[in-house]
């Protein structure tokens, strides 16, 4: 469903090409500064590449902005969650769950379930403002919940493990496994350093110095990555 062809960006990314097929969970990993986050943002439309094509659902989306890509079914979880002034968790999740057409029609859907999936008790969080009064871990989990609420065809998570401390890491891994089981035709891309997330991937792509230096199944890649990445 996703074909990235020759994507380059300012010397940080040099001719990146890879595919993601329906039903796959692909993990992109690599040392800090290798360009992983930038690549994720380029696919989501948050950054613009200098060259290359990005084919999503058989369309080249390079000229489409992030709104259009989101409406096509692409969701993105930020590494650093955004803070607002006045918007509550309920507001954010309702916007995420409603999609733009439903939003215009003023239809809203229930959002409690998405909070429960990330280990947050809805009654305690729905009316909280999405600002610095929430801890880093809480903001991160709400960010992930907002992507779950998109129910997207392709979900991209940029280092979902960063900031998760209280909520056990196992729950995060379980959440990804459940996502896959629930929607076998969807795809998930995760930027991650975590071995436990890499182990549940169908394929792992190793990015080093802006280039794909290796890719393969977890079995093939773990040997290569070894103790180099935690």
């Amino acid at each position: 469903m996703l074909q990235v062809k020759g994507v380059s960006f300012k010397g940080i990314l040099k001719g990146i090409s890879f595919d993601v097929r329906p039903g796959e969970l692909v993990v992109i990993t690599g040392p800090n500064g290798s360009g992983k986050s930038t690549l994720a943002k380029i696919i989501a439309g948050v950054e613009k590449s200098d060259a290359g094509e990005i084919i999503f659902k058989d369309e080249d989306i390079v000229k489409k902005d992030c709104t259009e890509r989101a409406r096509m079914g692409l969701a993105f979880s930020f590494q650093q969650p955004v803070r607002f002034k006045g918007l509550t968790v309920r507001d954010l999740l309702k916007i995420a769950a409603s999609g733009s057409e439903a939003f215009l029609d003023n239809e809203m859907k229930e959002v409690d379930g998405y909070l429960k999936k990330v280990g947050l008790e809805p009654a305690l969080y729905l009316d909280r403002e999405v600002n610095a009064s929430l801890s880093g871990g809480e903001l991160k989990r709400i960010e992930i919940a907002s992507v779950l609420a998109r129910d997207a065809v392709l979900s991209i998570f940029d280092e979902p493990e960063a900031g998760i401390d209280i909520w056990s890491f196992d729950n995060l891994v379980k959440m990804f496994k459940d996502m896959r089981k629930k929607n076998p035709k969807r795809a998930i891309v995760i930027i991650s350093h975590q071995e436990r997330i890499m182990k549940i991937a169908d394929r792992i792509i190793l990015l080093e110095n802006g280039e794909i230096s290796a890719h393969g199944t977890p079995e093939q890649m773990m040997a290569r990555i070894g103790g180099g990445l935690k």
């Binding site: 709104t67 989101a70 954010l92 916007i95 939003f103």
Partner: protein
Amino acid sequence: MMDLDKIERDLMREVSGVTGIPEGAYNFRVNGKSIGRQSSEKINIVPKTEKSGIDIYIADNTHQEIVHIPVIISASGLKEAVYNDFYVGDNCEVTIVAGCGIYNCGTDDSIHDGIHVFHVGKNSKVYYIEKHCGIGPGAGKILNPTTKVDLGENSYAEMLLEQIKGVDSTRRMTEADLAKNAHLVVKERLFTHGKQSAESEIVARLNGQDSSADIVSRAVAQDFSAQNFRSHIIGAAKCRGHSECDAIIMDKARVNAEPALEALNVDAELIHEAAIGKIANEQLTKLMTLGLSRRQAEAQIINGFLK
């Protein structure tokens, strides 16, 4: 309701939430006249004789009562200054819903100057809600609210002052004197668009020991509108004062914020903050990745900001 036309009824609902005869005491002023007034057992509303306005006497120990005193102007060119004095007894807990809506489709400016003075007794809690808006294609809709509060010992006042849309010019003055252990919370929300102008001045004098004031102004200035804020907290005793002005500036608008603090006592703890900026790009981006257009994202952010 009470022989109001549709525009007047809609305005009434918009500024005060009133859609029929409310429970408790009320006074409805439409086009310069009271069209409905009702006192309750503990809240007595008496019209002034020497000038326009009412005196509202709230007896000691009045609990959980709401007074509605909305004002509507739909006659073009009407100009009025209305003086309302509130005498809140001791040990009370009351809510006062004010609000003024102007509809103007004519060529003369319509102006409402509302001067509200509160005398709050000991141990009492007052919740005051005031919403202003203007509608109609005609000439000026001008609303100038003056709010003065005298807070007695151990009393508490929470004031929500909102100007939601359509007001062409406003000069707002809010002044408070706080006695020992009195506490004031002011939430001001201001939205200007087109070529509107808004000036807001807030002065809080913390005269009594352990008094506190928390004043937060949030504003959005769009198009070619202009806003000026001045806040002044004076700590004359052991006290805590916080003044915050947070503004989103858009398009070709202008915003000027001047928070000021004056400490006259070594135990006065005073903080002021002012921030003016455009809508943060990252906030827009996040909402756009959730499927909203840039415009929709802006509207959501502004709505949340002014809530």
